[in-house]
Structures are given as C-alpha cells and as structure tokens.
C-alpha cells in the first residue's frame, strides 16, 4: 500500500484559488486525538492482533492517520465551501449531474491513492485492512468535507451488501471496480410514499427469460444517485417481484448498474436508470439528492428473493455508525472554528478581572459562557470519537466471523450501541454546530465564516438513515424489549460494571477518578431502573405508546451515560500516562486537557441526563391526549 503524497499535494494546489476566495474554517486534523483513542484508550495493538489484523500495527496506523490528515486538510477542507456555494447541478435534458468545481479531481486523486478499498477483502481487490481503520479515514474526511465524503461513503454500503449477499459472479464482476474506486455505488430504498416504512415500497421487478429482472418505479432521496465522479454507478435497489407477499416480507434486493455492459465489456451509451431531478436542500449542497426513475431498467437479484430487507439490514449498523460520524465532525469543526474566533475576538472584560490589559477588550475566550460553549463542543467531539472507535472495532470481527452465529453475536452487540451512537451523536453534533455559530455572535450567521454551513450540513444527520425518533424506537423497542430482550444491554452493562468495579474496588487506592466511576455506576443502575419502569408502564399498565413517547428521552439518557463511560476510560488512560515523569510538556498538556475536558463532561454535561430521566418516567397519557390538539379531526 502506498500513499502518493506528491499526487495529493498537486490536487491541493489545484484548489488554492477557491481556498483563497473563502474564509471557511481552516480544518486541522485531530491526529493526536485519534491516536490517543485507538492506540492508548482502546489498546490498538492488542485489539488488532486479537481480531486477526497483525499487520495493522502502530506504524501502519500512524501512516494511515497522517496521510488521511494531509488529504483532508489540503484537499478536502478547501473544497467544502465551494461545494456549498456551487452545489451539484442537474441537467434536465441529459439527466446528468455535475459536481462542484474540483470535487471530481479530488475524487480521482483519492481513488488513485487506493483508499476506497482500504477495508475491502484482498480477494476482491481491496487492502484487507480492518473496518475501524477505515473509520479513521471516514472521520477525517467527514470533518473536512462531509458532503464530498458521502460519494465514497455510500459506495461502501453497496460493497458490503455485495460481499455478504452477492453471488460469486457478482462479487468478481463488481467488487474490484468498486474497491479501486473506478465505479461508485449507492443504496436505493426510499420512495415518495415511504422512507422508514419500507413495507410500502412499490418499485416492481419482473423476471425476464435470461434470469435478469426489469424494474419499474421511482426512488427518491438517493444520495449521489447520479454524478460525474465515475464512468459507472452501481445501485443496490429494494423492489418487489411479481406475486410477492405484501409488506416488508415481499421485498428483494437488486443490483442495477447505471450503464449496462456490452458483450465486449464496454459500457452501453444509453442509461439503464436516470435521474429525473435533484432536491433543493438546506445543506449538503454538493451531494446530489436524486429522484431516480426506473423504467424497464435491467437489474440482477442479489441473494435470495424476499430477503431484501433482511439483507439490507445486515450492514445497517455500519451505515448508521457512519452517519454518526457526521455529528462528531460537526462538533469538531464547531470547536475548531469557535476556538479560533474566541481567541481573536475581543469584547468587554472578563468577570474575573482583565486578562489582556494591552488590548481594548479581552478575547472572548476568557468569558465563562464562551468557554462553556467551546468545551461542550470539545467534550462531544472527543467523547463521540471514543464511543465510535470502540464500536467500530467490534465490526472488525464481522468480516472475519467464521459462522453466521458468530457474526450475529457481534452484530447484536453493535446493534445495541448503534442507535445510541447514531441518535445521540447526530443530535449533540447539531447542538455543537449551533454553539459554533453562537460563539461568533452575529458573525456566525454570515456565510463567509463557515459556521452556519456546518449547522445546515449537520442538520440532515438527525433525519436520514432513520430519524432520531426511529433510532430511539429501535433502541427501546427492538433492541431492548423485543428482539434481544435486553441481552446486549446486559452485555454492555457487564463491561461497564467490570470497569468501574476495578476503579472503585480493586484499584481503589490508586485510581484517580473514583467520583466519576461512581457516577457512571449510579447512572448505569438508574438506566436499568428506567428501562424497567418503562417496560412496566408498557406491559402491566398496558400503555404501549409509552415506548414511543419516552423513547427519545430514553435515547438521550442512554447517550449521556454511555459517553460518560468512555470519558472515564479516557481520563483513566490519561492519568496513567501522566505518571511518567519524563513526558514532554506538550504530551503532559495533552493528557491534562483530556482529564480537564472529562471533568467538564461529568460536571457540565452529564447532569443533563437528569431531565431526560424525569421525562422518560412519565406515562404516555398527557402526550397522547387528543384533546390537546383541540378536537381536530385526525
């Protein structure tokens, strides 16, 4: 594997024009923070050996982090604002979509560097590195330019589906081209009448004599459904075969190339599927959100008929965790932007006394409320990072699982944490993005600073890949009460209690964060109690709707508590490192910052859980009282 630094520098130069034109946030890749989480907190060396990725040692990891950081800073970050300003453009005549200036070149450079196949098995042309390492790339690109990252990101969902459910022939034919980035892929699920409720899908697939199918229907909200990055696009499409059962049980998955291949391997000139229009959206302007028309479109069945939804859900966890990255990135960007501005902008004097007597006013970083906002963004970004890498390390075992049972066990463990990650981190990321704007005062509302773009882009995070409400129902309804009957919740709690027991009992004489460990323990116990109470309300009191009315508060409670466990681990890791008296000052500062930020999390963020707890304890009665809506006809 080689990272052609020279090539990416060249691309970097190509976009200097747009960089100069814009004043957007100068993104600085949090390399040290990522290494702290992977190498130190989550003990990367031990993990990768255990997961069977011996080659993924610290040196290799460092090179991935550093090279991705360069690409993110030099190439992708400057293209972020261009994408917002220009947006993707649809030509109603040709049905083509043109991406913003410089985006295609950046993609070509990315593909040439071999990054698309980072975690694709070598058998299919990838580099066979662990999924969690792909997360490093995804995080850095997501923060620098989330929207650009959607193009390669969605293709990974497509590849994963093929790897797990495709026929050997399909794999051999499509995966190498997807893995090296020659082609990109999408997922086509949503239709005008349904997003979450996929049982309503109407797109039809009629079997042809040659074993292929002809698809007819309309899909909407297809991110990157049409573009100019690659010569071909591979769509994974959810559709209904003839005489299929109603609802979700009649759905099947199809592979639909934008251009079919001729017998000589060349691509046909005629499009097999067309983009009718693209949406005008609040943000992520560079990503074309396509209305896709299937009209006698040729498609190929993936896996078994009627198993479409099940197959689709195989990598739902991975996809949703990927979306959670958007929240992390938004918080990181808000922190970096807010910090830069707060150090520069002077206004009034600090309440605790003048800090910059040589200036006409103190930099606003000395004002308590500004500090509160900055540290909230920081605590969210860093807390989310640790949560996300831990869960993505679980997924490292997925592709190596030898049996379906083994794979399912891992999936179940991830499945419990996934809605917490997706739901809470996108919500907190959106809040952080808004705090980023708030740090700038009125200037935050002006486009040139880039802070308002961060809010507009981050706003989609709580909507797609299942809204926050859907994540909350998934967690409380499916993952806790029905599907897993609390199994994976119990497993997670066991891990946490084992950890806090060590802090509170075994190592009580040396552990420095006993108060925090006790707080995590107490919150975990309340989490159990809360779950029980909601379950009791739902069952004994026959108040089934409480699962829905309490779900989002339950989700947010779960998020704050889960994050507290990861903050505790980061604080402990940092404290252990600080025992080394030979540490360089910069390293000492780094670890002390982790502990201080963790303390901020425990004192200034975790108490938010109190309200969510109180709110989730209520029955559904007042919320579902139809009278509140004034006798409206429902």
């Amino acid at each position: 594997m080689s990272f052609a630094t020279t090539a990416l520098r060249a691309v970097g130069r190509g976009v200097i024009v747009s960089q100069a034109r814009c004043m957007s946030v100068q993104f600085k890749a949090p390399v040290r923070d990522i290494q702290f989480v992977i190498d130190e907190v989550l003990e990367g060396d031990r993990h990768y050996v255990k997961a069977g990725y011996e080659e993924c040692n610290e040196e290799l990891r460092a090179s991935v982090v550093e090279e991705c950081a360069k690409f993110a800073e030099d190439v992708l970050s400057p293209l972020n604002k261009v994408g917002d300003e220009e947006g993707a453009k649809h030509d109603p005549k040709t049905k083509d979509v043109k991406t913003p200036t410089g985006w295609k070149e950046a993609y070509e450079s990315y593909a040439a560097l071999g990054w698309q196949g980072l975690s694709v098995p070598e058998a299919y042309g990838g580099q066979g590195l662990p999924t969690s390492l792909n997360m490093v790339k995804a995080e850095l690109f997501a923060t620098a330019n989330w929207t650009w990252g959607m193009f390669p990101g969605l293709s990974i969902g497509c590849m994963n589906t093929l790897i797990l459910c495709g026929s050997e022939e399909q794999k051999q034919k499509y995966l190498p081209k997807l893995a090296d980035g020659t082609w990109l892929g999408t997922m086509c699920l949503t239709e005008p009448q349904c997003g979450t409720d996929l049982g309503q899908v109407k797109t039809k697939a009629v079997k042809q004599g040659d074993g292929s199918y002809k698809l007819t229907g309309t899909k909407i909200f297809i991110s990157c459904g049409e573009h100019d990055f690659t010569e071909n696009i591979v769509h994974i499409v959810l559709a209904r075969t003839e005489n299929s059962p109603a609802g979700t049980k009649g759905l099947s998955l199809f592979l639909v190339p934008k251009y079919l291949e001729n017998s000589d391997g060349s691509l046909s000139k005629e499009k097999n599927v067309t983009c009718g229009s693209i949406e005008s959206k609040m943000g992520i302007h560079g990503s074309p959100t396509c209305v896709m028309h299937f009209e006698d479109t040729v498609g190929y069945l993936i896996g078994q008929e009627f198993k479409g939804l099940e197959q689709m859900f195989v990598f739902m966890n991975t996809a949703r965790i990927g979306t959670a990255l958007q929240g992390l990135g938004a918080a990181e960007l808000a922190f970096q932007g807010g910090l830069t501005y707060a150090r520069d902008r002077g206004s009034m004097r600090a309440l605790s006394g003048t800090k910059a007597p040589e200036k006409v006013a103190d930099p606003i970083i000395h004002h308590g409320d500004v500090r509160r906002m900055l540290l909230t963004c920081k605590a969210v970004a860093e807390g989310a990072r640790c949560m996300m890498y831990d869960v993505s390390m679980m997924s490292d075992y997925m592709l190596k699982a030898r049996t379906e049972a083994e794979r399912k066990a891992i999936d179940e463990e991830m499945g419990f944490l996934t809605p917490i990650l997706k739901g809470c981190i996108t919500e907190l990321g959106l809040e952080a993005a808004n705090l980023g704007v708030q740090c700038y005062g009125g200037h935050g509302y002006i486009k040139e600073w880039g802070m308002e773009q961060n809010v507009r882009d981050a706003r989609i995070g709580t909507l797609y890949e299942g809204t926050t409400g859907i994540q909350a129902l998934d967690l409380l309804g499916r993952k806790i009460f029905i599907q897993q009957k609390g199994r994976s919740f119990g497993q997670f709690a066991k891990r946490v209690f084992a950890y806090t027991k060590k802090q509170l009992i075994d190592d009580r004489k040396t552990s420095q964060h006993k108060w925090e460990a006790l707080s995590v323990t107490r919150h975990m116990l309340q989490w159990f109690y809360l779950t029980g109470r909601i379950g009791f309300n739902a069952q004994a009191n026959k108040d089934r709707e409480v699962i829905s009315t309490s779900s989002v508060d339950f989700l947010m409670y779960s998020g704050y508590v889960t994050m507290s466990y990861y903050w505790l681990r980061m604080m402990d890791t940092a404290a252990a490192k600080l025992k080394d008296s030979s540490l360089a000052q910069s390293e000492r500062d780094f670890y002390e910052a982790k502990i201080a930020t963790g303390k901020f999390y425990f004192e200034r963020m975790l108490p938010r859980a109190k309200s969510h707890y109180a709110l989730a304890l209520n029955s559904s009665k007042v919320t579902m009282d139809d009278r509140a809506l004034g006798g409206l006809p429902f």
Copy 2:
C-alpha cells in the same frame, strides 16, 4: 381608523403567482389564541381602562386582530418563500438595494392601511393605541413573514427613540412621516470591531458651524439599512464626538437621513449615507444586512451629548421583546407545518394499535414521539404568547408615564422579564423550528416544504439584539445582582406567589390545578435558592466568573419557571370558562386543548428545568480550567 380590506385583498391577488409556485406552510393566524390571552387571561378590558386606553375595547381589539390576520395570511405569508429564494439584492454601482418581488407593494399597502403608526401618539400622526396592541400586529406579521416584518419593525425603535429623546423640532419633522410609513427608520450601532461591547465604537462626529455634525465611520449588520420600500430612510446612529471620554460614556446619538432635505422640502439627489455591501447570510434573506459607510455624512444630535448609550437603552426592552416574537413565530409555524404533515403522512402502525385500518399505514400523528414534538412546539408558542403579551401590557404604561421615576419603575419591572423572554423564547423557538423539520423526516430538509427556512430564519434570533449569553448576563449580572439588587425579581415573585396562594389556599376547594400551582411555587422557591447560591459562590467564594458560566443555565431555568406561571394562568382561565355548560362544542374543545397542552407543559417540559438547576449550581472551576484547552497560548 379604517382598515381597507379591499386594498389588501388586491395586494393578496398580486402575489398569487408566487403563492402557487411555492409549497410553503399555509399560515393560519391564531386569532382565537391571541384573543384568549388578551381578552380572557390578561383581562384586556380591565387592563386598557386602567392604562388609560378606554377606546381599546374588545370590539376594537377584535377588528385589529382580524384585519392583521387577513393581511398576514393573504399578503405576507405567500411572500415569505419568495423572500428566501430571491433575497435582497445590492447593486455595487448605484449602492441601491432591491427587495424581493412583491415586498415593496405589500409594504405600500401596509402603510396605506395606516398600520405603522398604530401605537404612535396621535400628536405625531399616529393612532395612539397601546403598544401591546401593536404586538398583535407584530406577532401575526412575524409568524407569517418575519423577515418582511423587520422593515417596519426596526422603524418603531427609531420612532421610540425620537419620541423620548428627540427635540420638538425633530419630532415634528420626522415623526409624522415615520408614523404614516412614508419613511422608514433604522438603528445603527454595531461596527466591525464591536457588537455587544459598544464602548469600542469608533464612528466620529464632528460639530459644524450650523450645529449639525459630520459623521465618518463604518457600521455593519444594519438591518434594512438600505432598500426601495420608501423614498427616504432615517438612521439613528451611535457615534463619538470630538474630545469625548473613552468607552461608552463618550457616545452620542445622531439622526442621519439617507437623503437630506433641500430648502424647498424636496429630497436631495445625492445620498448622505451609502450601503457598501450586504451580507450573505444563513437566512432572513429578504432583509438586507448592510455595511453602511458614513463619509462626511450630515447628522443631527439627538438629546444630550454623551448620553447616547443611555438613550439607546431606553427602548432596549421593547426592542428585545420584539425579537422574542421571532421565537414565538417560529414555534407557531413549526407547529402548524408539523401538524399538517403529521395528519397527512402515513408510516407504520401506532404502537397502541391500528388507527387507520382503511389505509396502508397510520398517519404519523398517532406516533407518540411525533405527538411529543408537535406538543412541544404548541406549548412553546402558546406559553410564549401569554408571557409576551403580559410584559407588553406593562409597556402600555411607559408612554403614558407622567414622571421619569414612574417610567423607570415600569422599565425596571419589564427589564427583569425582558432577557428571560428574549433569551429563552428565541432558544425555544429555534428548538421548535428544528422539531418542525424533524416531524417531516427527510422531507423537512427539502426547501419546498418551508420548514428548513423556518430554522434558518429563526437561527438569527439567539444572536442579534444581544446573544443568549448576553441576555443571561443581563439577567443575572445586571438585573438581579447589580443594578436592581433583586428588586424586580422580588416584585415578580410576589405576583406569582399571590397567584399561587390563591389557588392553593384561598380557593383550594375549587381550584383545579393545585398540583400545577404547587409545582410553580416549588420552582419559584428553588429559583430563589439557586440565585442565592450563585451569589454566594460569586461573593463569598470570590468566584466572579460563575456569574458567566452559570448564566445561560440560570436563564433557561428562569424561562421554564416563568412560562409555568403563565401556563398555570391559562389553565385556570380555561377551567373557569368550562364551567359554563352552555358553551359551544368548538369553544369547549378550545379550552380543553389549553388545559391539556398546559398539562403537557408541566409534565413534559418543565422537568427540563432540573438539569439547568443542577448545572447552574456548579462553580466555574471546571469550565474555566485553562488546562482543558491543552496549554494553548491564550
């Protein structure tokens, strides 16, 4: 006073084209809700007689509400989306600003209907009606089209300043034209280096032989600083005379017309002040945010030299309450939009059992979490409305005050509630706007539905007229600890306790909301305790920065508690009305909706105060720990 309904209908027809093109929310004016608050909860008849506005009886009030409702629904609401799409346009050559299609015509119709002078004293060409009645107009226009409403709204600040501080000559010369809407006015405070910290203002004013001044400097963020609505614009400008003391004590106010008058009363052709450019913003696109260049610009001193800031602050409460309306409007619009969509969109089945067996899925209004979001928006809009009208009724006494002491006493009472209103209602309004988007799922992110515009427009609310952080410092620092030493806090508490005592003790046998009354009382006591604790931390523990680190949580706590008092009053009023057995069913439904929504507020919103309470109790230590930012050079 006559409301030319025919004229406004004509304007309504003029904009039908744009209405048809857009799918934005069809705004329905909450006429009944406004009347409930003014006539019933706040006992309008009694209030207006007491305040010396006998003519402002129920009939007059009803005609104002209804006519404003028509104009808001028929004319302004359809122009809301046009404004967002087209935006205001600046011509760098002529320095002119063109407003969006139809906006000027709507303004001309508005001015012709005589609404600009609604609450301006008759002596200056106004209709002399109370300020709180102007709030009805402002609310309805704000919800239908906040951005358009900024043009006439800012002019009211300008008029108020002239009424209170201008010379008789200035009043006679400018007020009639401002009152009848022939001219519009602005306030020019902010400069590139300062917004909140006005002591840094640099714009210079040099006295000329004829008593006038020549101004030089640059003002930024001047809303509606240049436009094509009126033939002239009157700016109120904060500037610094020669040899003035440094800081805020050297500031004076000047009146600066865009075009000076020639000796024959005609307007000069040359601009006296020019707009160099307008900002590209997240939202409120129709409102030009101007960079104003003062170059040898002629201005006239208003009031006394060096009293600029003081004079500016006279109507700061009114201006800030006006901004709070944006939060109310955003919540109302989110509720209306969300409700419409939730009744129409089908997805899945309700957890409590199928609600629409004839359909393929239940409308999402039957899902608990959707209901939670809708009722949150509703509770915010209605709670905010009651708070705001009560405070604006206080301002009815302002213009009628006979002595400065009397005026100051009223101002002080309003001054305590103002930051709570401005700070919390804009924050809650922004949250509600986001919930409006969330109800639509992915569709909320698409421009055509209008929900994302609501978020972008509402986002400015927590930033201008003092950010939320500034409101919080104003409340805790100035209004409670320093300036008023808790006086007005005590006054407000007395009012609340008198009310809850009646519910809990005097009328305990009949009052139906004793639990809620107890909850209000308990929260009020905790509010006192919290204030005391923060004060103790700041003084005894010498932790002055805690005033800032705790301020926003204190503000939000204050907001939730204040709103609970107003919800209690609305619930009680509704309960009293329901005793009348001859009520029509629609009226019964209306009052029951109030009580049910109030119950939702107490059970599902007020508990949020718990977290703010816990957070505000902390010292500033962890928040101000410089180590958290990793040894950065500050």
